[in-house]
Symmetry: C2
Subunit: 651 residues, 2 copies
Amino acid sequence: MTAYTDTSLSTGLRGVLDGRWAATRDEVRRHIDDAGLVPRAGLSLPEYRARVLELMREMVPMGFPAQGFSSADGPGDPGAAVTAIETLGYGDLSLMVKAGVQWGLFGGAIENLGTARHHEEYRRGLIDLDVLGCFAMTETGHGSNVQALETTATYLPETEEFEIHSPTPSSRKDYIGGAAEHARYAAVFAQLVTAGPGEEPHSRGVHCFVVPLRDADGADLPGVVTSDCGYKGGLPGVDNGRIAFDRVRVPRTALLDRYAGVAADGTYSSPIESDNRRFFTMLGTLIRGRVTVGAAGGAAGRLALTLAVKYALHRRQFSGPGDGGELLLLDYRTHQRRLLPLVARAYAFALAQNEVVEELHEIQTRDPDDVDPGVLRRLEAKAAGIKSGHTALASRAAIEARTACGGAGYLAENRLSLIRDDLDVFTTFEGDNLVMAQLAAKQLLTDYAAEVDGLDAGGWVRFVAGMAREVTAEKTGIRQLVQTLLDDSDETPGKSALTRPDTQLALFRGREDHLVRTAAARMRRAADDDVDAFEVFASTQDHLVKAGEAHIERIVLESMQNAIVRLDAGSPVRAALEDVRDLFVYSALEADLGWFLMHRFVSVERAKAIRRGVNELCGRVRPIAGDLVDAFGIPAVALDVPMLTDASSTV
Amino acid sequence: MTAYTDTSLSTGLRGVLDGRWAATRDEVRRHIDDAGLVPRAGLSLPEYRARVLELMREMVPMGFPAQGFSSADGPGDPGAAVTAIETLGYGDLSLMVKAGVQWGLFGGAIENLGTARHHEEYRRGLIDLDVLGCFAMTETGHGSNVQALETTATYLPETEEFEIHSPTPSSRKDYIGGAAEHARYAAVFAQLVTAGPGEEPHSRGVHCFVVPLRDADGADLPGVVTSDCGYKGGLPGVDNGRIAFDRVRVPRTALLDRYAGVAADGTYSSPIESDNRRFFTMLGTLIRGRVTVGAAGGAAGRLALTLAVKYALHRRQFSGPGDGGELLLLDYRTHQRRLLPLVARAYAFALAQNEVVEELHEIQTRDPDDVDPGVLRRLEAKAAGIKSGHTALASRAAIEARTACGGAGYLAENRLSLIRDDLDVFTTFEGDNLVMAQLAAKQLLTDYAAEVDGLDAGGWVRFVAGMAREVTAEKTGIRQLVQTLLDDSDETPGKSALTRPDTQLALFRGREDHLVRTAAARMRRAADDDVDAFEVFASTQDHLVKAGEAHIERIVLESMQNAIVRLDAGSPVRAALEDVRDLFVYSALEADLGWFLMHRFVSVERAKAIRRGVNELCGRVRPIAGDLVDAFGIPAVALDVPMLTDASSTV
């Protein structure tokens, strides 16, 4: 038992959480306080939208929007750019999303899919907000399935133009942030149709084009019809809208042509031969949006948890022992169980997220030709997984935090309901979480092979079945190690091998390994039996999702463990983080106890010890709960809510 | 395998779900359609509040507000009154809550705690809305712990008045629906302080008083300070507010004196001697509010599920087998698993809720003196449990429905986010769900003994410890039955004993029994060991909550089974309901599989069969998913949303 007497505990923890871009975090924190960046209730849509645009303009001089882009001076500082937007999650998510759309998505498309010409034309303006853009990928009929987009960009050699067109109602661009009001330009994803000399025109797959939407007065340009998505379940400061194109002409140079070009005569060329490979390479360069959404969602989840924990340390209810005063909410076990495992999980994901941002930074500051495609592919899978797990956690945390604050939590003045509303869609955009978890599992099953890109469900199953023999043959050591744990009957977390990081990792790895192996085996069997491959896919989909989720928890635990081993053994900060890690692991095991029992990874006795362990760890962490949330470094203005200062607590 | 070819399946199911007050339901459904009662986005608070008040006035002529009250003609029709408000859950929850506050809570206080004088003075007016009231129970510092309310009502014999006073900031009435704007009167819960001749003034516990708040122009009366809770996480049409009283005088007759009176000289008298017993008897008469909130929340949850299921039957995504067209969302297993178990659970809770309403109706239409206090007490526990389970389900269903509809689900025009927001606080008000689950378990542990009312945590633990020997000695037969199931290795739900209702009930009962027995044993051991009783309570709180939840699922299954056995064996309606019941049971077992395995109620093989069973049952129910939600009888206007008619589906 470590005594948590060090007054600098929260400072120490904060150093660990803040990581490499601590200075950027602090700068944005100060800005949140100075500018009063908190979500508001009761503004009209036009008011909120105008406010957010104004707030974005105030951020330009801070410099980090520019850090997201390379320049004559070098590759910029993508890690700082992502971290700045992440930290806006402690402020107002409307601003975070709007900034993310402009600098991350629209800017990212120009930066990563465009060439020198586009950089010269748009980069300065989009950083300074003279060029307001949007990212027009999703269509009314097509969200996760980007390859099925219907919008066409047909090359017309006679005028050297592309004709951007929405051929069907379902091809309308939808939910596009910025499209309702502010965007003057759109990065439009569309099927590129062209014919070289002697060819029939046909689609070369989805490409991206810069298309002007509005004139200087904000009126739709000829052929462009924008409309407004109106009120949403949150994010009132983001002007989501729709765009339909009626044969809109743009010059040949509107194609962002880093990965493919169209010559004046219509000849299509690309350094990447395979349409699929090219498409997924292009998508892969846009990974920063997914990383940012996971990071910022996570930050907002930490804010929600902090509000709830601080309320639970302020509000009393029912009588306690002895003196007759009422107990603090956080002294109730059910309340501890509601909040503290989420705080522990928030630590784990924050550390894993930091690792993703660092890896992204490394890749995006290197010469693209020096980046190993395999490394990029692994990062894509990791970013997808962390996005899914982190935003799911954040959304759950916001819902639980609201509930844990009762009626006070429901009042907009205390902001939890606003955070919950804003966060909700984070589980959907930049990749639906269910699709992301499957993506992580699929990459794993196919060992990150690029050959599977663009395969339909059936083709993918056949591919996996082909590989499955090898996958199944591997990996037996871990399983062995796990089995030996069954005999260990120590029960208290203080003594148990379950607080040993290698044991924890072995359990998480063992589960993942088992799920991946059995998924592969199911596909192989199905292929052997010549069952319809799509049927196999449909019937193993939940299996895949579970494998993805197990994978995510494993890599998160590894990240956390990586962060812990860098600290001095025996230091209070390390001791606290070890308890937090144990609570994360125990509560994750408890949440999936059925699976672990069913697959004989834990014995019944061990399972009971896990349940008790969660309780004990909640009790252990309870005295430092305030320090744990203080370490998130939430700006003061974000915590300045009536419920934390009012008279709801009578001693 | 039953073929679901009967075209009247949804009609038949609807008859079962609609139950005894089907005519009332239909009348309110028509009204929802005629009046366009759907939640709106983008109205200002004043606009929404005014709209809802106007909508309430339109409902008066429908008659059901009056049915909630007794009259010269008899005891009214409480079941119809509750069912009418429940059905508003298919319309706009702001209206439902506002109506529930006026007719159910304020009206219920006058009706059940008042005497002839109050009935004559207020009944007609509160039905017709000439007398707008609110229910001023909760204080800033006191929610679930009603006995700790601080507001005082001090009797002044010299003027034969009560002085209503808020002595501290935490005693301010808070979150009170109607208090911000419309209410002219409040039913105020306060500590009654009086002294008979020769006594010192002291509190007789919490009583209810009718206190005028505002004059005819809506201005606060002298000594009354109301304020506005402003924007909330939902329910924008309900004007929640706060009330502080500065020595406000009301006549002696303002006391609702059915259970206690104060004579002119200050002498306090009551037919119920024990302060605690009297307090809980008074609270018990207000049970209708809790029943109504559970029912209406459940209805809104069904609406959310219907929107999501219909969207999943409309929207296609990614390619399916064979022809290359995209698959319907509901053809994906993960999507089935997301929605269909919730639909099954919604059926189970709807049927259990109907039973609660019928039992309430029976009790409230009888002469109060003929009502067995034990029966009332059981109904209170049941209403608390169903309220907790039903609103938790509804809130979860709304969240899941939003997510399952992706970006479309986030747009206010499709209403899922509005329903989610409005529903959120249903888990908190009329009894926080965690407290309600504990209440259900505590009643069970003490065998519904009235002696425990008002005991603090420690006293309660000692009481249970005293009873525990008996409780533990009972109930062994069920456990025996369950054990024999372990040997049964049939695996498909079609053959397995797990689809036998007696087996299902035995598992649910066995779990409940085990949790109750072990909770009692823990308390007895602790009492034997002379551990601090409060510590025992704190450390068994999560155990109690789990016992409560197990109890709720058991009584819900019983209700469902009761409804099923009344149907013709072999009829398509019965066959469908049996599948739905199985899906409810299998998914409930799966959700708690860790517990069932850990306590050896199911074997590992059986556990795997349960997981597969959920998949198989989802597949079985998939073809009738549309019928299942059609049977909810959602009004057309509530389903008239763009996402169900637009072009998001391309075939």
